[in-house]
Amino acid sequence: MDNMIFPELKKIPEDQVRIYKDDRNRLCMRRLDTGEEYRRIQLSLVFPLTARRSFVRVCDSEENEIGLIGSIDALDEESKRTVEKELERVYFIPKIVKVKSIEEKFGSRTWNVETERGPRVFDVQGRESLRFIAPSHLLVKDIDGNRYEIPSVTNLDPSSRRVLETAI
């Protein structure tokens, strides 16, 4: 018990790190304090739904955790933009801006919606596919595992709300 290892959080200080794309368009990270340099890093969120601007997990190309970046907003501008862009690639959750219709047949529901990325029709099955990650923040999972979100159900237009009401 004496040689017990206590794991650390391995937080990466935001002001001591730069994240950038190198000339071969690989995502890289450099520690200013230690001078360490990582190429082909991978970014993911530890709380991808409830905290999208904090706790970015940085891994090397082998999926080994290098550390956690506490807050995206504390990074310098360039790193921030790079991280945002990368995360946008990793997490694709289009926002639904209008719910046109939801029709039920054979136990699944067909949603016809307008998203910020354009119109979309998808099928949803089961109650578990709808999930409120905050009181008015709805996350929808379709049959194929794609995600959509409605950041604020209460701020939808009245007709969308009426349509949505039958489904939730």
Partner: protein, 759 residues
């Protein structure tokens, strides 16, 4: 009541309460010569004679003597006397289905009275009283008391305290004796917070009632005045009035329905919250005795019934009654003789309704109970569906369900049958009343003593008069269900938690973690002590391994330490303070439990980890997960810490669940940690990860770990071996191995099994 017991005597009167019953007159006269009734302490009947035939013998005890009297007629020498001073020993002996009181004197030991279990409780108390009496005349007597378990009350059927009938299972109220009025008064309390809404809906109901009665009232002037006088203007006016009445009626009905619905929902909300709130305060023992499904059906189904009654049902009754009264007044005022005739079926209907409802009430109780039994089966088997499938028992489960369902069908059908016998008969009686109005009213209209308009008005109102009656009689059927539901709800609300805070509880901020068991006894059922004379002194920060066969009392010991139950006797002290003195919430805040079957909630991983510390920051959650070797697998899920777990944590492997629950415990940072076989049933690598996590977790805390796999206890400071509710060995791993006792035997057994497995 008492045949001569003087209450002024120094003897505690409560001790003998109910132990002095009235002797049959004949026996009493016989005994008066022998027994000094002025000093009577005990006088109770048995229900068996010594030879084992049913009959009455009486046990009488005065300050100096013990008497047994046979009430059977023609017994020659009915009284058997023993001076208390001669008694050396007295014992109540429980057997199967009956029991005896055994007395020893200097010369012999013999049975003095025999009785069945029905009477054993009285005799138990009597024996205690007698023992006290004997002690006062003969201090050296060996009153080898009945054993500890017997001294408590035996488990028994629940009987109604009022009528003595055996109560239906799961119920503590007697369907025969419930005071319905009291139930309803209590129900009405739930409307109280909404006086405005209640008055508003009542006024709207009144307005709706009045407007609905108007059209029929307009018929008379229409026929007698407008038609008879050929007054076209009046006809037009009447038409306007008629349309207006119907229009207003529609409006009032609509508004009433809306506000009534609102009231109903609010009441539903309140009751359900109260019930759920109360369920959370109840002690673990409440849940031991009940099936989850049965409780669930109360919270959902029964509460629904209630709220409907409190809002709509109650108003319906009032409105229908009002309607009936208003119509009765109108009819009597129009023509009292004809009015009385129209009202004549009322008493018959009232009597029939009351009679029918009495029977229906009992049936509805049965229906409700079987309904929740059905629910209980679902609540039981659906979570265990994998077990059902693995053992190929699907068909048996269906059979079980169908059997229960057909019971439900039977009892519902008998209710259906009864109500369909009674209510149509009542309807027919009403129709006879209407026919009578035609007969007499028609005759009098011919005679000319009433106008055609009056006849038509009567005809219209008679049916409207019966309508409320019919509705009330149907409603009272519903009321039975409501009363039943109400009682089932109130039963939960009236159940007091067994474990409650001390009157002046000690609030603890941070305990050290010293635990001391002092002669702790415990039993769930009065007859079966689970823990016997547990004495154990655990130092703060010590790690104790708890070992023993299943059923040896390990889990019960833990339950007591968590204060899910209180010891039957003896003390548990935390830092020297009796556990009952500590404020429960603040004490439990110091404890964390990692169970063999970790219970995860239907929530995200982060929420599950933070369950014991809801205000934990995200950083703390990640840290705890890392400490528990859980972080690495959590971040592999696409939604990482935001991953929502299925019911009971489905979607995770056993080892993963285990580590989440360890993270939960780490985050809680308890002073006392309880591990229940945390490493069982996982592969070697996972076991290493878990063991590492556990080692981090237990550092610096008082830990009690239950383990079957003895190898996992090498790190324990001391190992406590339990057998049959007692602690049989305490010591370090090496000490116990050297002792060659229970522990070393267990270790040898396990290593042999392990060898065989390896080969």
């Amino acid at each position: 009541m008492s045949p001569g017991g003087d209450e002024t005597h120094s003897w505690n009167s409560w001790a003998t309460k109910g132990l002095i019953l009235n002797l049959p007159v004949e026996l009493r006269t016989q005994l008066e010569r022998v027994v000094d009734f002025g000093k009577l302490r005990v006088c109770i009947p048995s229900d068996l004679s010594l030879d084992g035939t049913y009959g009455q013998s009486w046990l009488l005890v005065t300050d100096t003597h013990l008497y047994v009297a046979d009430a059977k007629k023609g017994t020659k020498n009915p009284v058997y006397t023993v001076p208390l001073a001669d008694i050396e020993g007295l014992k109540l002996r429980h057997f199967y289905g009956n029991a005896l009181v055994e007395v020893s004197t200097t010369t012999k030991t013999f049975d003095i009275i025999r009785f069945t279990n029905t009477r054993s409780e009285d005799f138990l108390r009597a024996v205690k009283v007698i023992s006290e009496l004997i002690k006062s005349v003969r201090p050296d007597a060996d009153l080898g008391d009945t054993d500890r378990a017997d001294a408590e009350k035996r488990p028994r059927v629940n009987r109604c305290p009022k009528c003595g009938k055996v109560l239906p299972p799961e119920m503590r109220i007697c369907p025969e004796c419930i005071d319905k009025r009291e139930t309803f008064v209590r129900l009405i309390q739930y409307v109280k917070p909404y006086p405005k809404l209640w008055v508003l809906t009542l006024l709207l109901s009144l307005a709706a009632t009045v407007t609905s009665l108007l059209p029929a009232y307009l018929q008379r002037p229409f026929i007698d005045n407008a038609l008879a006088d050929r007054d076209w203007g009046l006809i037009k006016l009447m038409v306007v009035l008629l349309v207006l009445a119907h229009g207003l009626n529609a409006l009032f009905n609509g508004l009433r329905g809306y506000y009534l619905g609102m009231l109903g929902q609010k009441v539903l909300f309140d009751i359900r919250r109260e019930v759920y709130n109360h369920l959370q305060t109840l002690s673990a023992s409440f849940y031991d005795k009940r099936q989850t499904g049965a409780i669930m059906s109360r919270v959902i189904g029964d509460v629904n019934q209630l709220s409907h009654f409190v809002s709509a049902g109650l108003q319906d009754v009032i409105i229908q009654l009002l309607t009936a009264i208003v119509i009765a007044v109108i009819l009597l005022q129009q023509d009292w003789a004809l009015g009385l005739m129209a009202l004549s079926p009322l008493p018959i209907i009232a009597v029939a309704t009351v009679a029918a409802n009495k029977s229906l009430r009992k049936i509805w109780h049965v229906v409700a109970r079987r309904g929740s039994e059905l629910n209980a089966i679902l609540g039981d088997t659906l979570p265990g569906i994998k077990v059902v499938k693995a053992f190929g028992r699907e068909e048996d489960e269906v059979d079980r369900f169908v059997a229960k369902q057909s019971e439900l069908y039977q009892s519902t059908m008998s209710a259906v049958m009864l109500s369909n016998k009674v209510y149509p008969a009542i309807g027919f009686t009403m129709a006879l009343g209407a026919a009578l109005i035609w007969l007499v009213g028609g005759y009098r209209a011919l005679q000319g003593s009433i106008t055609v308009g009056t006849f038509v008005l009567f005809n219209g109102y008679v049916w409207r008069l019966f309508q409320p009656m019919q509705m009330i009689s149907q409603l009272s059927g519903q009321l039975q269900q409501v009363a039943t539901s109400a009682e089932r709800i109130f039963e939960i609300l009236d159940t007091q938690p067994e474990i409650v805070d001390d009157a002046h509880p000690v609030q603890v901020q941070q305990i050290r973690g010293d635990i001391k068991f002092e002669h702790v006894y415990f039993s769930y059922e009065p007859d079966e002590p689970i823990l016997k004379d547990i004495c154990l002194d655990i130092k703060a920060g010590e790690m104790i391994g708890l070992v023993g066969a299943s059923g040896s009392g390990k889990t019960t010991l833990i339950n007591l330490l968590c204060r899910f139950y209180d010891p039957t006797s003896g003390d548990i002290k935390i830092d020297g303070v009796p556990i009952q003195k500590l404020q429960i919430k603040s004490y439990r805040d110091q404890i964390a439990v990692v169970l063999q079957e970790p219970f995860l909630f239907h929530a995200t991983i982060a929420e599950n980890i933070a369950y014991g510390k809801p205000d934990a920051t995200r950083e703390e959650i990640i840290w705890a997960a890392k400490m528990a070797n859980a972080h690495d697998f959590i971040v592999q899920f696409p939604e990482a810490y935001d991953t929502k777990l299925g019911e009971r944590g489905t979607g995770l492997s056993g080892g993963q669940k285990q580590r989440i629950s360890i993270a939960r415990a780490i985050l809680r940072n308890p002073r006392i940690l309880i591990l229940d076989e945390a490493t069982s049933a996982v592969d070697t690598e996972t076991e290493r990860l878990i063991q590492e996590a556990i080692d981090r977790l237990i550092k610096g805390r008082t830990t009690i770990a239950i383990a079957h796999r003895l190898s996992t206890l090498k790190n324990a400071d001391r190992i406590v071996v339990m057998e049959d509710g007692r602690i049989v060995e305490v010591g370090t791993h090496e000490e116990l191995l050297a002792r060659d006792g229970v522990f070393s035997r267990l270790v040898k057994m396990q290593s042999e099994i392990a060898k065989r497995v390896v080969v």
